[in-house]
């Protein structure tokens, strides 16, 4: 396949197919609906791929858990309000250990909010949205080609960690068309790790704390703790293999910008003045990778599409104060970033916003 225009949502779907996904269940919601539409059309031509439009997002999330238990690499796609509805199923998937992928194409929330405007405000929900303690693996690409690449990686990480993995996107990235040759992106695919139910072995999937033999362990704190740390350590070990990030721009600058997803792209005209750390694996946080570079910089500023969600995380990671440039209301622009930097006295002297700049990806 030669270079062609590919949409971000389309690339996510094609990555899923490349990863071996054979079941999609979903409920349409802007700005993710193109993924559902792609799945519907693909299923009509490829009977080995099953498509189910559910009555809501609760059913969608539970359907992909069932599909995965039955043996299919499974996924769904939604946006903030739908992702909120899915949280009970997310927790169940983590407890039982069910590999699947949930794509969250973020828009401006809370509530219905601004359905077609880009936001990055679901970041903490991807980590803490469900009940109890669990270890999330979450990726957030920033180009259409990366949507394809990290869609495959999300399925790989789901199989290896045996947990629901979240692939983040946003309204701009999902609806962005750009030139890409997806066939040149070569990501090895991790094969299915779970035997389907009814294939002979005994499996427990009640979601209740149980002993390995299936007896309830609902009052045994020691057994709960043993299982919790076993699960956590396994998922952290898997995540270590997926420590995707970018460190670049002007590494000799005094200030480090932390930005991710589309924000890192929109902020690109700042490249001569700042260094950039762009996490792609959003959870578990890249503590070691960030700590290795953060010490070189006098100041750190987090530019993000929420009111400081990741900035707070970074402060916790580094145990130091960071500056914040929140991009709210869908205003993802170099003008909005410049205004934010100016407010905190960090707009570089002499920085003239070249709004026409189409500078290359770093």
């Amino acid at each position: 396949m030669a270079k062609r225009l590919v949409q971000g949502n389309e690339a996510v779907f094609l990555g899923a197919v490349k990863a071996g996904a054979s079941f999609f269940a979903g409920y349409p919601i802007s700005p993710s609906s193109e993924i559902l539409a792609q799945a519907s059309v693909y299923a009509s031509k490829n009977p080995e791929f099953r498509f189910l439009q559910e009555e809501d997002e609760i059913a969608s999330a539970n359907a992909i858990l069932g599909g995965s238990l039955a043996g299919a690499k499974s996924f769904t796609a939604t946006s903030g309000p739908g992702f909120s509805l899915m949280q009970e199923a997310v927790g169940y998937g983590h407890k039982v250990g069910i590999p699947c992928v949930i794509v969250n194409v973020m828009r401006v929330g809370p509530g219905t909010g601004m359905p077609t405007m880009p936001g990055q405000g679901d970041l903490l929900q991807t980590r803490y949205g469900s009940t109890g303690d669990y270890t999330s693996i979450v990726f957030y690409p920033s180009t259409v080609a990366e949507c394809y690449e990290y869609s495959i990686q999300a399925f790989n990480a789901a199989e290896e960690s045996r947990s629901p993995v979240v692939l983040l996107s946003d309204a701009f990235l999902g609806h962005l068309n750009e030139v890409a040759d997806l066939d040149t992106i070569d990501v090895p695919v991790v094969p299915r790790t779970l035997e389907p139910l009814a294939s002979g072995s005994t499996r427990l999937f009640s979601g209740v704390a149980t002993y390995p033999d299936g007896e309830p362990a609902t009052a045994d704190g020691d057994e709960f703790i043993r299982q919790y740390y076993e699960s956590r350590d396994n998922r952290l070990a898997v995540a270590e293999k997926y420590n995707f990030h970018e460190y670049g721009w002007n590494k000799d600058a005094e200030t480090l910008v932390i930005a991710f997803g589309i924000t890192a792209r929109v902020a690109r005209p700042l490249a001569p003045y700042f260094a950039l750390f762009r996490p792609i694996r959003m959870w578990p946080t890249l503590d070691k990778e960030l700590a290795e570079v953060a010490g070189k910089y006098k100041k750190i500023v987090v530019i993000e599409g929420s009111d400081g969600q990741y900035a707070s995380v970074v402060e916790h990671m580094l145990l130091r104060r960071v500056e914040r440039v929140p991009l709210l209301g869908g205003r993802m622009s170099i003008e909005a970033i410049s205004e934010g930097l100016d407010r905190i006295g960090m707009l570089p002297a002499g920085f003239a916003v070249d709004k026409k700049s189409t500078v290359a990806v770093g």
């Binding site: 701009f172 962005l176 902020a267 005209p269 909005a336 026409k356 189409t358």
Partner: protein
């Protein structure tokens, strides 16, 4: 040829996606790096629909257009925080202080090609001309959907071939025709002819 930043500004149903997709496909066929972002309001029918298109010979990082080389304006709902060097607008949509031109695209679509839909392709032709995109018919054939391809190519070429003199002539002819229609309506409604002239002139 250097790249450009373009915004197509309209409302749902006006063909913003068709024009943006066709131009982006054409530029891709020609070997350019292209980003095309559709931005729209889902809350109401007829809400704003925008296409942000950038093309260059190098990969494009920032795909959000905040200062356009050219805006093609089919409606006045446009994005906030946008400035532009040049505006191609349908009749009545130029704003005070802007540099550009007004062309009755939808009317021309009907007059020249039998359907208002072809006004979109005429507008695309004019946009390609203003952006100095040097395409061939083979490029167009590869980029366009097969349905109505001959009519679409003809409409794009016709729009591309417009120059300032022909635009002035079209606009003045359109204004005269519009005046005549308003005058006739007043007379048919029983208004005295001298008064109808004044009323038709005042009603724009």
């Amino acid at each position: 040829m250097s790249g450009k930043s373009i915004v197509i500004d309209g409302v749902g149903g006006q063909g913003v996606r068709v024009i943006g997709s066709t131009m982006a496909s054409l530029l891709t066929v020609m070997g350019f790096e292209v980003t095309l972002l559709f931005d729209y309001d889902s809350s109401v029918r007829g809400g704003m629909s925008e296409a942000f298109l950038r093309y260059d010979t190098e990969p494009i990082s920032n795909f959000v257009v905040e200062c356009a080389d050219v805006v093609l304006r089919l409606a006045g709902r446009g994005p906030h925080h946008l400035s532009t060097d040049y505006v191609i607008a349908d009749i009545g949509l130029m704003k005070a202080g802007e540099t550009g031109e007004e062309i009755p695209f939808l009317q021309l679509g009907v007059e020249k090609f039998g359907r208002d839909l072809f006004g979109n392709m005429i507008a695309l032709g004019r946009l390609l001309c203003v952006c100095d995109v040097d395409f061939t018919e083979d490029h167009l054939r590869e980029a366009l959907p097969k349905k109505y391809i001959e009519d679409n190519i003809a409409a794009i070429k016709w729009g591309y071939g417009l120059d300032q003199d022909s635009i002035k002539k079209i606009v003045s002819e359109q204004a005269a025709a519009s005046f005549a229609a308003r005058y006739a309506a007043k007379v048919l409604a029983g208004t005295a002819s001298s008064e109808a002239v004044e009323l038709a002139a005042a009603q724009k």
